[in-house]
Each structure stands twice: as C-alpha cells, then as structure tokens.
C-alpha cells in the first residue's frame, strides 16, 4: 500500500556546500540518501514529493559539518499481510516462484499455488494447469495476496499466495508479445 507521509531526517552537510544553493544541495542529498531505502515502520521510500521545512543547522564541533533537521513529504510503499498486489514474476523454480511488485520481492511457494498447476521444468520453467490454459512463467503478471512479510533493514520480503479466488495470472508475456 502506498502512503504519502511526512518524515523527518537529520541531514549532515559538508561545509563545502555552504553557499547560495545550500538548500538545493540539501534536497538533492536528501533524495540521494533516502529514496529507495526501506524502513520497517514505513516501508520503502519511493519518492520525495516535497520539503516541508528545513530547520536550523547546527555546526558540529570538530568536523564543521552542519546538521539540518529536514521534514519532507514522501511516498512510501509498504506491503501488508492480506494485501492484494499485482506483481511481475521474476523467477520460477520447483519450489515456487518469485515476483516483484516494485521494490518488494514476493515468494509464492508451490504450496500456495493452486494444486492443479504443475511445475514444468525446461528452458522456460513454468507452472501450468493440466489443460495448459494458464501458465505462470517469467515476466507473467500475477495478482497475489500477501500472507506474510519480513522486513529487513534494507528490504522487505513477502510470502504470497495465488491459491484463492480471483488470484492468479492477469496477463501473459506470451499474449502481450
């Protein structure tokens, strides 16, 4: 789920950036530092949409660095248990398949794939129904439900299922091509 929230961060700026475009420097550094990171609480910070305020800088003893408290608005993405997501399959193996929804990696175990789908090894490993009508392979888009999340410092990993109503392949790479 995406959220638009305000976060705060203390930015340390090297003295060489002090000057007219200090603020720009600060913002660009903030973007560089923050975008794409992940925190357990908020999830992935997808993009900074604006700066709310930049507080007073504090010069640090010894180093000359200045610390600014910066409040910024950003879009964060955090997957939740039970959430339905659409994701792109990145890899298929006999244990299940991996899919990605933006920065989030989701694993769908073969226990969580409908029983009628079987793993077919080969050049393009895939899961196929017995009648061959539905196929999950790399690049397929699937709709899945997240049943568990694990949040690390740098990534969020989810376990998903497609063993439920209205879940499964929503578009095939083959049909698109």
């Amino acid at each position: 789920m995406f959220f638009h929230i305000v976060l705060e961060r203390n930015m340390q700026l090297h003295p060489r950036h002090f000057g007219r475009d200090l603020r720009e420097k600060l913002v660009s550094k903030l973007m560089k530092d923050v975008e794409g990171t992940c925190s357990g609480r908020h999830g992935f910070i997808v993009a900074i949409t604006g700066i709310e305020s930049v507080g007073k800088g504090l010069i640090r003893d010894g180093t000359g660095f200045v610390t600014f408290p910066v409040k910024y608005q950003c879009v964060v993405f955090r997957p939740f248990k039970g959430e339905i997501l659409e994701a792109v399959v990145t890899m298929v193996n006999k244990m299940g398949f991996f899919a990605e929804a933006g920065p989030v990696q989701i694993f769908v175990s073969n226990h969580l794939i409908p029983d009628d789908m079987e793993f077919q090894s080969g050049d393009v490993p895939n899961y196929t129904t017995s009648d061959g009508s539905v196929k999950i392979q790399k690049e397929s888009e699937v709709r899945l439900k997240i049943i568990g999340t694990r949040v690390d410092a740098t990534e969020i990993f989810c376990i998903g299922t497609i063993k439920d109503d209205f879940l499964g392949v929503i578009s095939d790479p083959g049909t698109n091509a």
Partner: protein, 1046 residues
C-alpha cells in the same frame, strides 16, 4: 505364597495378608527415623528388583519378608523390612538391574530368597526357599516380639501413606549416624558368589561378624557393597574370602551417593502401542521402530521395522548354501517385496497371527506385513526415552499403508518426548486428539501435564483443560517462525503451509523450503539462517581451500561448509570441513572487466558469457581473476555466481573509489619519506611504499586478516600515541579498539596503516618476530638487493602459509636449500651492523623494531612477502604456531644453527637477534657489546648503575668513564660517585632503571648521549623530554639510564 515364616508381631496373620504385614512394618520403620526407610523412596526400583529393607539395630526383630517384589507397578509402596538375613534374587530384568542383597543380623537367621516377576495382573510368582532351618528360633519368638514392640513403642506411630511427601522422603535418607556403605573389590564375575559367601559367613559366625548387609549389583562388576559401621568390620568380614582382594582398598561410599547405589535412574516407561522406539542393538541398531504390541509378562514387544534384509543372503541361508563370509555391512533399510522374495525362491507363507488376527507373510521365520518387518524383541533391547524421529524416518513409515489419520495419531506419540515447558502462555495450539479435535485456541495456563487453553470458538467455555499430548502448536500461513530443534535448528522463515503438524517454511536466507514439525518451531521475529559461522569462517566468506582452490561459503552446516568453488565454467559446490579450509581471504581485490573497466568489490556487474550469462549483481569477492557475484534472483548457491572477470562487464559506476584512492596515496606518502625512516615500522614498510613497487603481486591485502587482532600504536592523528587492538580492516583503513579510551575508532582512509605501528607486548619474550625480517627495507643495505630475485619466487608457493603452524616444516624444507649460507652469511654480517648504525632514528622506537632490523638475512624477503609475514606476525593469537615459524629464517644466521626456538638460535650468533628477547632486559643490554663493534661502548658516563662486585652484593655507583675494548667502566661508588673508583665489567653492571621524573641519559639511538627527563612511563616505553631540544620522545626504557646527580 510359599513363605516359610514371618517373625513378626503379626506373626499369626495369614501370609496372603502381606500388605498388612507391610503396614505394620511401616509403623515400625518410621520409628527408627531416618534410617530404616532410607531406601524406600526408590519405589520403582523396589518394584522391579528384589529388595529388602533394613533393620538398623542389632535388635532382634526377626521379620522376614521375601523380596516380594513389585506388585502392579508401584501400586503399593513396598515397605518391607527384612530381618537378619535375606537374600533375594531378582531375575526381573526390566530395568536390567539385578540386585543381590544379603542382610545380616546376629540374633537369628532367616533367609529368604525370592525372585519375582510381576506380570500385568500384578500377580507374582515368587520362589522362595529357606536356606536354613529355623526351628531353633521359635523359642525366641516371643522374646523377640516383645523386644520389637519395646523398641518401636518409643515414638508414636505415624502412618505413612502411599504418597510420602518429599520431606518425609528426605528424612529417610542416610545420615552420618547410619552405618556406612563400603565398596569392596572382588573377583570379576564373583560378586554374587562373594555375597552369598559372606552371608554364609554371617550365618556361621553370628554376631561377631559385624557387617550388616552385602549388596551385589549386577550392573556393577568387580565390586560389592558392604554395609557396616567401621572399615575394620568390613576387613574382618572379608578376611579369608577367596574372591575378595584383601589388599584392595576398601572405599567408603559418600553419604550422598549411598542412595544412588541402590536406586535406578530411569523409570520404566510404560510402553504403549504406536510408541516410537529405537533399537538398541543388532542389525537394526539405531533404527526407528514402532511398537505394535506389548507383552509385559514376557517383557517382549512386537515392533514394526523397515527391514534390513539382504534377500540374496537370506535365500542362500535358507537353502543351506551357507556363505560363511562375515557380513561387514548392514543392508540398507528397504521395504520387503514379497514378489521379489518369491522370485528368489524363498518360501513365503501367509499366516494368520492367532493373537491379532492379522495376516503376515512369513519368510524364514520373519514376519512381514506391508513390507514392514514385525519383530518380537525384548523390552531391554529397545530404547524408549527421548526418541525424536526425524522427518525422513517418519515419512518412510508413512509411505505404505497408513492414511493421514493414523499418521496423526502416531505422530502424536512424538509428543511424549516433548521437553518440559513445551507450551507457553500465548502459544497458539490446535487439538489433535479427542472430541474437540481441530479446535484452535491460545494457551492460557500450563500445569504439569495439563494445558489450559482458551478456545477460539465463541460458544465454548472460557478455558478448557487438555493433556499436553492432545495439543499441538499451530501456525498460520505467513507466520515468521524459528526452528528450535531438529536438523534445521536455528533457521528462521515464513510458514507457507501447514499440513497436520508438519509446517513448511521458506527459510529467510536460503529461500529453501524446510519441512519441520510444528513442535520444533516457535514464532519469532528474528531473522537468522541458523548457523552462520564455524570457527573464524562465516557465511559468504571467501576462503582458500586446502588444495589451492578457493570459493565462497554459501552454506554453513553443523560441521561443514558448502563452498561454491571458484570455477567459472560451471558451478561447483564442495562440502568442506573446517580443517580443510586454509585461510580466509579478506582482501578486497580488484580486477578489470572485459572492457578494461576497473572492477572492485560492490561494483555491479553483468555476466556476459558462460553458464550464468545474463546474471547481474554486486561483486562480493574478486580473487585470481574470478569474481563472485551476488544475484539475489539467483536461488542456487545462496545467490552466488562465480564468473571470470573477463566475462563480466561493469554496470554503472564503480563504488569503491575510496579504496583505490587510498592506495596510491599511501604509496606516495611512503615514497616521500626520507629513506632512513622508511623502515620505521615493519608494518609500514610492508604495506606502504615499497610493496607498491612490486606491483602485480597480491600482497597488499593478503595478510589483512592477520593484522586483525594485532596490537598497534597509532602514530599520527588525533589518537596519536594510543595503543589498541585492530578489530577490522577495510582497504587501507583500520578500526582500532583503543586500550585507554574504551572505544573503537576508525582510522579513516587516512589513519591508514602507515599510521599505526606494531607495538609488541614485550612481556612475551618469544614472540619476537624475528622471522618477519621486515623492517630491513632500509636502502642502506645494498648487499641485500641481489637477494630479492632469489627469494621472491620462493615465497609464492607458500603464499599464506604462516597461518597454520603445521606448514612450517614445509617452508623449512623450501628454505633450507635456498639459503646460500656462505653468501648470506657475509651479507648478514655486514648487513647487520649497518642496520644498527644506519637507521639510527629507528632504534629508539621499540625493541621490536630493532628486532626487525636485525635479522637482515630475512630481509631478502621483506620486500615482497613482508605483507604476509608482518601481518602474520602479530602472533598473539596463535602463539604456538608462530613459535615454530622463525625456523625458516634461521639457516641464514652465520652460525647456521639448526632451526630451533628463537631464543636459543639467536643469542649465540646474531647481535641483532638479541634485542628480540626484550623480556630479558639484562641480556638485551649486553648483547650489543658482545658482538657490537658499531654499537660501541654501551654504557655512558654519568649514569647511575648497580655494580655487582662480590658476594652478589650490589653497590650503587656512577659510571665515570667507559674504557675501550671490552666496555669495562670505571665506576665511582656511591650515589654521587664520590666513593672509591673501581673497574667493572659490563656484565657486572646493571643499569638503574629510571623512574618517572628522573633525570635520564639516553644510551642508544640517535639521541644517544643526550640527557633528559623521564616524564612518564608507558609499559616498556619511556616518555622523555630531551634537555637540548625540549622534544618529547618516546623511547624504549631499555635505552634509558638514570643520570647521577651531578
């Protein structure tokens, strides 16, 4: 019951009323307090093994209770007392303890010996027989009765009920006032015989034999126990016994252990059907088996096993063509295939078991059903406690026959082996047995075996109580759990499916599917991969294996690593044990990709060719032209891919600039230094400048790891002067844990290795790293240069050898032939003094640095390998290994001593070697004089010394003058030097070590002769303020002498 006679106050009671008798005894027993019943708490034991209990006093209570053993499984606490002489044999083997106890008393003898085998019905078969006629005792009977009554009337009778409390039990334990138990050695296998002999002796001799009982335990060979008050009594009793070694020591059993002698540790587990057991012996030893039937009477169980039968062998045997060759191997477990057996012409009979009504195939006397072997075994031969069937084993058993239902039930027998405290409050559980099956709930309260749960269903009572055997933990999909026992213990992951009480989870690290029992899993938010480290090697480390190959650890098993080898053509995984790993590579190497882009660790690359074509990810390791890439989408090998650097292309920018900048800088830095200072620190010379000029070798980093843990001193920057221990190394910067400040500082790129110097702990005398002939880089050794080409090739083969001591010999061999003794001898000889003289600035630093200078012969190496050796040279970690290490260098000493311990090797020959034993101050000082021409007179005028003149008296004196040649001094006695002047040889002179704020004179190094003030002492270093220049110097204390008050 065939008892002979009971002498007892209840004498006239029918014998069948044994219980009453026992009760009566109980009453009596409790009178003699802690003594009588002390063995009683071992009721289990008593049940099984014949037992009699004690009468403590020599009084004549003549009761006789046969060891009437355990009726019905502890149904009755067997409190029986046996007067006088009872021998009871228990043939009952359930606990495989057979006890023979002989009890004595001296007024009368009644012998009862019984063996009883309780059966299911609690019926007993007792075999007793009198050993002696007792007619003569009858007269005494009344008297005895009286005396007993008298004796036990002393205190009020207290009824012991069946469940004596712990406290009461405690009171029954033996105390110091009770007779002691002595352990007597006897002939092996004669324990029982001895006991019986002693009994006979007691019968014959009567009261004069003052021992009270004899115990022979079947499980204890070679010893019997004798109960007596004094050792002398025991000796007396044993005198003349053939099978008792009179000479052997009689050991007293400590009071605390007395009860253990006659108690049995394990309880008999009531075997039930469907219990999992393991076989104890035979072909099936260790195999899992399932109990199918229990015959308590005959102590037999029928177990179901997966047969390990070699049909061919069986066929041979049955047909009589006996192949008598010994079977060394045990056939693997395999289900019996009846058709196959028929093909082998085995006779298969189909029979109905009269007991169960089931049909079995009978082949050669063995019963099979559904491929399983049904075997009747003795209860003794199975293990019932703590059986933890593995998943695989259970799977196998499940394969045939039983559906999921039976499976559940049988699995639930696993629960019997659960640890205490299995369930905790808040655990989610599911009911697996009984009417409320599949009910889910939360644990509310746990009592002993009862678990109260709060069901999730609304309309049920608030809490329900279940036996813990009826419950199983329950997990939802997506729960993050940790495996707490079993083969994948420690792993964490997310639950992807739950089948019965088997949980499938996806491991966090390996993304593999694990199948575990719900029982072995707890909910946890922790993320681990289980074991990630053995010894110093951790998951994802790059390691060098024994056979010169290398690889990345991709998995850590309980005692081995899985290593993805550095073979780019195909992924090759090796299972490697700890000892097979030679070293860890910590170097952050760099290399060039296909387009000559510079690759460094953490750069993202894409593989252009080979089996892993198209994969991309950050480089984790670079080594010998091979990169290890971590691709998180790559599932095999923990995401690691091995590829040639040449087949990769850098994507995006390189991140690792810091490192790359660092190196040139430091090398530049090094070159800028004035040449004499170059060797300042061995570390430096190896790391900083000089090595750079030998580009192309992997030197810089190889020894990185070895510096970790080294004690260093920071030479520059804000932490200048601080000592510490290196905790980590990254590129050219190190992290140092400061001793003084209790913190860890990172030497940023700039406090690089140049800024630290090795700081030897001088108190370890043999640590002196003579072998690191490092410092000797000094340009002032022209003679050395020719050696380089010579030495360099040598080093390579043993590239990182120093890490393990065992390689030393090899290097030794390598070195010996190489060392051109004559040439180098010369080299050594002029080299050495030169080093002393020519790098004067160097001297003051520390004894160790001198040590480095000194063994010039080593210098041949120093250029190239120094990285290695110097690093390795922090021998604190593995001193023993290093102790050997110096040997390779030794051949170069003029003396040509065979390799030996450094001290012995060095002292005789090499002047330079001496300072290496900094611990022995005296020696240090002397040595330069012994060999020292360049060093010149060592003592200086005006310093305060102790002169050992005669009779070991030391006299304080002041050196007036140093005489030529032998270094003798004229010393004026007295603290101001005004006394008599004597001539003393240096060996008779000890310098007086200055104390803080003493005036000092510097006796060595560039400042030699200068005076100053000692403003502080830091270990072996003195902080000196030099008078002339007002500089503050840190000098070795050895070089400082106290100045006489002028």
């Amino acid at each position: 019951m065939p008892r002979h006679r009971d002498y007892d106050d209840d004498d006239d009671e029918p014998e069948e009323e044994e219980e009453d008798v026992y009760e009566e005894e109980d009453e009596e027993e409790e009178d003699d307090g802690g003594k009588a019943g002390r063995k009683r708490r071992r009721s289990d034991f008593i049940d099984d093994a014949a037992e009699e209990d004690d009468d403590e006093d020599e009084d004549d209570d003549d009761e006789d209770y046969g060891g009437g053993g355990g009726g019905g499984g502890g149904r009755r606490r067997p409190k029986r007392r046996t007067a006088f002489l009872v021998v009871s044999f228990s043939l009952h083997c359930l606990l495989s303890v057979v006890v023979l106890i002989v009890r004595f008393s001296f007024a009368d003898f009644i012998v009862d010996s019984g063996a009883d085998i309780p059966d299911e019905d609690g019926a007993r078969r007792e075999y007793r027989h009198r050993l002696l006629p007792h007619e003569d005792q009858e007269e005494d009977l009344e008297e005895l009765t009286r005396s007993i009554k008298q004796r036990y009337a002393r205190s009020p009778h207290v009824e012991y009920d069946e469940e004596a409390t712990d406290v009461e039990q405690q009171a029954l334990l033996p105390s110091v006032r009770d007779p002691k138990l002595w352990m007597v050695k006897c002939a092996i296998g004669r324990e029982r015989e001895v006991a019986v002999c002693l009994m006979q002796k007691a019968i014959d001799r009567g009261p004069e034999l003052q021992i009270r009982s004899v115990v022979a335990l079947d499980h204890l060979k070679n010893y019997i126990y004798i109960e007596a008050d004094k050792e002398a009594h025991v000796r007396e009793a044993c005198k003349g016994m053939r099978n008792i070694y009179a000479s052997a020591k009689i050991m007293l059993v400590p009071i605390k252990e007395m009860t253990d002698v006659l108690s049995v540790e394990s309880k008999a587990v009531d075997l039930a059907r469907d219990t999992w057991v393991r076989m104890k012996m035979g072909t099936y030893k260790g195999d899992l088996a399932k109990v199918m039937d229990v015959d308590n009477v005959r102590q037999k169980v029928v177990v179901k096993l997966i047969p390990r039968i070699d049909l061919q062998a069986l066929a041979n045997k049955l047909e009589g063509r006996e192949a008598p060759k010994k079977k060394a191997f045990i056939p693997p477990p395999r289900f019996m295939n009846i058709d196959e057996a028929r093909e082998m012409n085995l006779r298969v009979e189909r029979r109905r078991d009269p007991m169960s009504g089931d049909y079995f195939e009978n082949i050669g006397g063995m019963m099979f059903k559904d491929g399983f072997l049904y075997k009747t075994v003795s209860m003794k031969s199975i293990r019932t406690l703590n059986i933890q069937p593995t998943f695989d084993e259970l799977e196998k058993f499940r394969q045939t026959g039983e559906g999921g239902d039976g499976d559940m039930a049988s699995l639930s027998t696993l629960f019997a082996n659960r640890k205490k405290g299995h369930f905790m409050k808040g655990d989610r559980v599911i009911v697996v047995k009984g009417d409320l099956r599949n009910l889910k709930g939360h644990v509310e309260k746990v009592e002993e075996d009862t678990v109260h749960i709060r069901p999730n269903q609304k309309d049920l009572p608030l809490t329900l109580a279940f036996s813990d055997k009826e419950l199983c933990k329950y997990f939802d999909l997506g729960n993050h759990v940790k495996v707490v026992s079993g083969s994948s213990e420690g792993a964490t992951g997310m639950v992807v499916s739950v089948q019965g009480h088997v949980v499938n989870l996806v491991s966090d690290t390996t993304k593999e599917l694990l199948r575990v029992f719900a029982d072995n899993v707890v909910e946890s938010s922790e993320v681990t991969s289980g074991l990630t480290r053995i010894g110093e090697y951790e998951l994802h480390d790059l390691v060098i294996l024994d056979n010169k190959s290398f690889g990345v650890i991709i998995r850590v098993d309980s005692e081995a690593f899985q290593v993805l080898k550095g073979v780019p053509d195909r992924p090759e995984v090796a299972l490697v044990r700890l000892r097979e790993i030679k070293a860890k590579v910590e170097k952050k190497g760099n290399a060039q990709d296909r387009y000559k882009n510079h690759l460094a660790v953490k750069d993202v690359v894409k593989v252009l060719e080979g089996p892993c074509k198209g994969k991309q990810g950050p480089v984790e390791h670079i080594f010998r032209g091979v990169v290890f890439i971590y691709d998180r989408h790559h599932l095999e090998h923990a995401g690691y891919i091995c590829a040639k650097t040449q087949s990769c292309v850098l994507i995006g920018g390189s991140r690792a600039n810091g490192d790359r900048n660092g190196n040139p800088m430091s090398s530049r830095f090094a070159h800028m230094r004035p040449p004499p200072r170059a060797p300042q620190s061995p570390m430096r010379s190896s790391r900083g400048g000089p090595p750079m000029s030998y580009g192309g070798r992997h030197r810089g980093g190889r020894g990185h790891d070895a510096l970790v843990g080294a004690d260093v001193k920071i030479r520059l920057g804000p932490f200048k002067g601080c000592k510490g221990r290196v905790v980590d190394i990254k590129g050219t910067s190190v992290r140092v844990e400061l001793e003084a400040q209790m913190k860890v500082v990172t030497g940023k790129c700039f406090i690089d290795r140049n800024h630290i110097s090795d700081n030897v702990n001088v108190s370890v005398p043999f640590r002196e790293p003579s072998r690191y002939g490092l410092g000797s880089e000094t340009p002032s050794h022209p003679s050395r240069t020719p050696l380089h080409p010579f030495m360099t090739p040598m080093r390579d083969p043993g590239a990182t050898p120093i890490h393990d001591g065992m390689r030393t010999p090899m290097r030794d061999r390598a070195w010996n032939p190489m060392s051109p003794t004559s040439d180098r001898g010369g080299d050594w000889e002029d080299g050495n003094p030169a080093s002393w003289g020519s790098s004067p600035q160097y001297q003051p630093s520390s004894p160790r640095s001198r040590a480095y200078e000194a063994p010039t012969p080593g210098s041949g190496w120093t250029n190239t390998p120094s990285g290695n050796y110097s690093d390795a040279g922090t021998p604190r970690d593995n001193g023993s290994a290093y102790a050997n290490a110096p040997s390779p260098y030794l051949p170069s000493t003029p003396g040509g001593q065979p390799p030996m311990t450094p001290s012995s090797a060095y002292i005789p020959g090499t002047p330079g070697g001496q300072p290496m034993t900094p611990g022995s101050g005296g020696l240090d000082m002397m040595s330069p004089i012994g060999g020292g021409d360049t060093e010149g007179p060592w003592l200086l005028p005006d310093i305060l010394v102790n002169v050992r003149k005669s009779n070991d008296d030391t006299v304080i004196g002041v050196v007036h003058e140093v005489l030529a040649q032998d270094g003798s001094c004229s010393v004026g006695l007295g603290s101001s030097g005004n006394g008599d002047t004597i001539i003393a040889h240096p060996t008779e002179i000890d310098i007086i070590v200055p104390k803080k704020s003493d005036k000092i004179k510097i006796m060595g190094g560039p400042q030699r002769g200068a005076t100053g003030k000692l403003i502080g002492v830091d270990g072996t270093d003195g902080i000196v303020k030099v008078d002339d220049t007002l500089d503050v110097k840190i000098l070795d204390m050895v070089l400082l002498a106290k100045l006489a008050h002028a």
